[in-house]
Symmetry: C2
Subunit: 316 residues, 2 copies
């Protein structure tokens, strides 16, 4: 542990809005430092305030630009904003901005905004178990809204929805097959749809197509009907409407549905941590004498691999 890594002290400083304490705590959870558990425990009493908004969509639809524009809009309302940009394909991580996040640097010196890029070639498939912990850090640090942005690659898009209270699905006109391309699983997870680059040719037809596909979905009475918002994130056009819809969705969730979503999220997280813990214990068995004994018994034909696994499990 580096000097100054008193966890309780870091959490207290983070709650006072000290960016370096926030950054240090995220580093601790991200590096899976031995203090990960201690950090997680220290955060527990201070989480549950932030509205987590996920942004997902294919590369090129303008996720980073939209994230930056949302930060501006939320800051104008005086809200504290956290940005967590997760790139499951990148080995790079840390506090540095991603290369294409030029616009985000407008906010880099704003004390009301925390920006963090995380690499996340996760142990759990896509997003690593560090991602929910980093969300907890930003939440405990007093963020009103946390924007969780992922580089859209397959499974991670759907995982984002599992971590967010409100999921924005971004599309843009002229992105290959447009709505068709986005169909696989992503239309089901959107709470708000954004047709970005709405000043381009084809925006109206993208909206029309999207509306038609969404209209086919069966929704129960009183269920949330995902709106479609047209934006030009690079100029800020449509961002006020987008923020209104994000607020409306949060309001629609109310206390009950929000808690239900978060309960499900935590259940998944506990299960993932449980499984990963066992995976590591089993991985640590390389030098385990019991495993060698059991393998010798299977080799001798006196037991079988399944019975041996049962015995190993009892020893764990």
């Amino acid at each position: 542990m580096a000097a100054g890594d008193d966890v309780a002290g870091l959490v207290a400083q983070a709650r006072e809005g000290r960016p370096r304490a926030v950054a240090r705590l995220i580093s601790l959870v991200e590096s899976e430092s031995p203090r990960l558990r201690e950090v997680s425990a220290a955060l527990s009493p201070h989480v549950g305030h932030a509205h987590v908004v996920g942004l997902t969509g294919s590369p090129g639809v303008g996720k980073s630009t939209t994230t930056a524009a949302l930060v501006s809009a939320l800051r104008q309302r005086g809200q504290r904003v956290g940005v967590l940009a997760v790139d499951p394909t990148s080995p790079f991580s840390g506090g540095a901005l991603l290369g294409d996040r030029i616009r985000m640097s407008d906010h880099a010196t704003d004390a009301g905004v925390y920006i963090r890029s995380m690499a996340s070639r996760g142990h759990l498939g896509g997003l690593s178990w560090a991602t929910p912990q980093a969300l907890r850090v930003l939440d405990a640090a007093g963020c009103d809204v946390i924007l969780l942005e992922t580089v859209g690659v397959g499974q991670s898009e759907v995982e984002i929805a599992g971590l967010a209270d409100t999921t924005l699905v971004l599309l843009a006109p002229g992105m290959g097959d447009g709505v068709q391309a986005a169909k696989a699983g992503i239309l089901e997870i959107g709470d708000v749809f954004v047709v970005n680059k709405a000043d381009r040719d084809g925006a109206a037809s993208t909206r029309r197509e999207l509306r038609s596909v969404l209209g086919m979905a069966q929704r129960p009475e009183g269920a949330w009907r995902p709106p479609i918002v047209m934006t030009v994130a690079s100029t800020g056009e449509g961002l006020d409407v987008l923020v209104e819809h994000v607020d409306a969705h949060r309001e629609h969730l109310g206390a009950g549905e929000l808690q239900r979503r978060r309960h499900d999220r935590i259940r998944r997280e506990i299960r993932a941590i449980t499984l990963e813990t066992v995976r590591r214990r089993v991985g640590d068995l390389s030098g385990h004498a019991g495993l060698d004994d059991l393998a010798a018994q299977v080799l001798a034909g006196s037991t079988d691999p399944f019975a041996a696994a049962d015995q190993l499990l009892e020893q764990l």
Copy 2:
């Protein structure tokens, strides 16, 4: 359980050489029937005789043709032969021959040969846990040699080596970058190298290149030096030499090294089954009241996900 699925009876019939009993047992392990464990236990006293020979190499090098030619060569010596063709990318499975296995149909009516194609989009990454169990069935059924062939896709090639006593790595001239393309991990696993389609242009230079790359490897005194065999599997040319080298490798392994390899293999298998068992138990927790309680405690801020996972583990 279908009528006639008395496991002890099926194992006895399989040991008498009844193909239908062998096929039924493989189906039981492959479908992960509830009888999987019972089958595995019943096989235990009867395994360890077969010499498992893995064949791996890029698509197009002639693995199926080489497998068929090896079957012919081994049958000429009067040996019983099992063939397990594993395709980790295919959703299709069962006793049917793969589409391109025309040559294998020469052996389809030979009572001394068991041929089985398995789909294997496995739970354990590449090869499923059914693959080692299917090997055990063929072993218990009295096969002298089991040819384990995989469609070469990345990880599965290396996994094949983990299941085989002797691993054949196949190359062919004019396959893109040839030896260079095969370099990533595959040169380390070969016990015998086969340059198939040796009547084609470039065969000599493929051998030369391969010899040069293999020559760079540091090997301890007395270690096995992987030979390179030139074959034209479609005509049977070179197959006798290949069989000699396979025999020589088996002899080189002796009792000690063979047991060591198999011990390692069983260790890995026990670990994989252990992990998969826990994975399923954790997956089965969807309706677990304890998990809901723990999630509620995390949501209320009275505990954290890691402490909750620890408690869940204790309950398991």
